[in-house]
């Protein structure tokens, strides 16, 4: 029966290709979308990942970097810096703002850093320096390239002109663009003390237990929330995931409906076309299971081939996109497409129901008609 199913499909190679291609497209859609979100999730936490701070301090009640506003007073920052077990603690200011690059404004996360601080700034610098002075800024290399900017050019934030003195890497994503400015200048703009901070990047002493330090800081300094890097990253990823979840789910549902219709229509047409032959098979003694399995095999052949091609295509798309638009990171991992597999299996089964019903209703007496 498998051979018959295969032949029935390959007798109409164009239709077979179109339907498997349709399924592949739906799979690409799903994987690319979830890949874009996974990529954004990863992009968004690169700053946290690449700083040597194992603990992050922020305003009590705050537990995210993105979409949050946090401010720690000068005293609280000092308290953290002088806390036993803390090697050093670097305060940074953090806010979102549009960076005017000439043609347009790029929504960005602006990080104000102290030029003398050992970390907190760009983790990968391509050109210039990563410690901006008062009227200076470090922006992403790909962003600069996109808008024809280079070292010495000027961009502005809230109307304040800033000279580009550094080009960083890994800081430009569709959901997150990170730029670095001088902390003192940013404090003026935000109307806060230059010694205060939005976040404090804490490096514990080497002989200190990080966990106990986190607990001790949390219980002593009431105004601050101290989180481990892993928790901080997890919390931001969770937030971004939730932001994307609805869109992603909707896209998935749409893609699955497309897949369902494609498989259903193809197999139904293939069944209709061969209604007489299925009647013949019935007449000469095929049982229900054998007839039904022919339909299912056809469906699963289309789905399987389409799915495999779709995965391959999705990887190809992610590579191409990475070449053409580096800010869009499409992250495709086996767990993503593996998790789609059971849904596809169910969708394909559902798509087969109508053709199965059709086959069951074929009258074997058709064999006596000319």
């Amino acid at each position: 029966m498998a051979k018959l199913a295969w032949r029935n499909l390959t007798q109409q190679p164009l239709r077979f290709a179109i339907s498997a291609g349709g399924v592949a497209l739906a799979v690409v859609l799903i994987l690319a979308m979830s890949g874009v979100f996974a990529g954004s999730e990863e992009h968004a936490v690169l700053y946290m990942r690449n700083q040597p701070a194992e603990l992050w301090g922020m305003q009590a009640g705050v537990s995210n970097l993105h979409m949050s506003s946090s401010i720690l007073s000068e005293e609280t920052v000092q308290q953290i810096q002088q806390f036993p077990g803390v090697e050093q603690a670097i305060g940074v200011l953090y806010a979102s703002a549009g960076v005017d690059v000439g043609e347009t404004e790029i929504y960005s996360y602006v990080i104000g850093i102290d030029p003398n601080a050992p970390y907190g700034g760009p983790w990968s610098l391509v050109e210039g320096n990563g410690s901006p002075g008062l009227n200076e800024i470090a922006i992403d290399r790909d962003l600069a390239y996109r808008y024809g900017l280079t070292l010495g050019d000027t961009v502005s934030i809230l109307g304040y002109p800033l000279t580009i003195t550094g080009l960083s890497e890994g800081t430009f994503g569709i959901a997150t663009n990170v730029v670095f400015v001088n902390k003192t200048a940013m404090a003026l703009l935000m109307d806060v003390s230059p010694q205060s901070a939005s976040y404090v990047l804490i490096e514990p002493k080497t002989d200190t237990n990080v966990n106990s330090l986190e607990n001790a800081l949390n219980s002593t300094i009431r105004d601050a929330n101290i989180m481990s890097r892993a928790n901080f990253i997890g919390s931001d990823q969770e937030m971004i995931r939730q932001m994307g979840a609805d869109i992603l789910q909707m896209m998935n549902v749409i893609a699955y409906i497309i897949g369902l219709l494609i498989i259903g229509i193809t197999v139904y047409t293939a069944t209709l076309e061969r209604a007489r032959e299925f009647g013949v098979l019935k007449a000469i003694g095929a049982n229900t299971r054998q007839l039904v399995s022919t339909v299912f095999i056809q469906s699963y052949l289309i789905a399987g081939i389409g799915f495999s091609a779709g995965i391959g295509l999705a990887y190809l798309v992610s590579i191409l996109v990475a070449r053409l638009s580096p800010e869009i990171l499409i992250l495709i991992e086996p767990r993503q497409w593996l998790s789609q597999l059971p849904v596809l299996v169910i969708v394909t089964g559902v798509a087969s129901l109508l053709p199965v019903q059709r086959i069951r209703s074929i009258d074997p007496l058709i064999v006596f008609k000319a």
């Binding site: 029966m1 051979k3 018959l4 032949r7 029935n8 007798q11 007489r276 032959e277 013949v280 098979l281 019935k282 007449a283 000469i284 003694g285 095929a286 049982n287 229900t288 299971r289 054998q290 074997p364 007496l365 064999v367 006596f368 008609k369 000319a370």
Partner: protein, 233 residues
């Protein structure tokens, strides 16, 4: 009740429709076919021949009456059980050949063996043997579309014989063939091909030449079967 007949029909009636449009297509038919016997059923168009053959082939339930195939009563069997009997015990030959277009001659023959659960190598052997017996060796890997009518009907015969059915039912098997080819094909089915094993054949036809190869010729008119057809043709 156990019988020794390959096919036994007892008081078969088939009524299509109801009320004013009622058609009594088969009317109180009794028929016994002995092992090895070739029975020809003739009769005018619309006399109920195909209906009777469909009932005998377990493809159509009669309005009333009992059918025994190889001594097995079929009245209480469900669809899948009937399919099993059709697959293993009955071979069908149709006017329209009804081969599977996407399968080669050989694959058409092997398909019914595989459906019956035969292993591939056994099905291959048997199909080879049948193809040789029917003079189709050179056409084994051709699709039905590339075969002549006579060749197609020979493949259909091979398919009907593949599972060693003891009962072959044929509805106008020569209807689409010229008379010479038709006769040759039927002669092959009826006279060669291990018929000494006791295979019975029931043929519904308009083709008078086939009376030569039949053991018994029956006449069906208005759904009623008459044993002695002599003089009615």
């Amino acid at each position: 009740m156990h019988t020794n007949y390959s096919l036994e029909l007892i008081q078969i009636n088939k009524i299509y429709g109801s009320g004013a449009t009622e058609v009594r297509a088969v009317d109180s038919v009794d028929l016994q076919v002995n092992p090895g016997e070739i029975v020809l059923i003739m009769g005018p168009s619309g006399s109920g021949k195909t209906t009777l053959l469909s009932i005998a082939g377990l493809l159509l339930r009669p309005t009333s009456g009992t059918i025994h195939v190889n001594g097995i009563s079929t009245s209480i069997l469900n669809e899948n059980e009937l399919a099993r009997i059709r697959l293993e015990s009955i071979g069908f030959v149709f006017q329209a050949y009804n081969l599977i277009a996407s399968l080669t001659a050989r694959e058409n023959i092997q398909l019914v063996m595989n459906m019956a659960g035969a292993r591939d190598h056994k099905a291959q052997e048997r199909s080879q043997e049948l193809l040789a017996l029917l003079g189709l060796e050179e056409r084994a890997n051709h699709l039905p579309a590339d075969l002549s009518g006579g060749q197609k009907q020979r493949v259909a015969i091979a398919r009907a014989l593949a599972n060693d059915a003891q009962l072959i039912l044929a509805d106008e098997p020569t209807g689409n063939l010229d008379s010479k080819t038709g006769y040759e094909v039927m002669e092959l089915l009826c006279c060669g091909l291990d018929r000494e094993k006791g295979r019975s054949i029931v043929i519904v036809t308009h083709d008078h030449r086939l009376t030569d190869i039949a053991d018994r010729v029956l006449w069906l008119e208005d759904g009623q079967l008459q044993e002695n057809a002599v003089g009615m043709m």
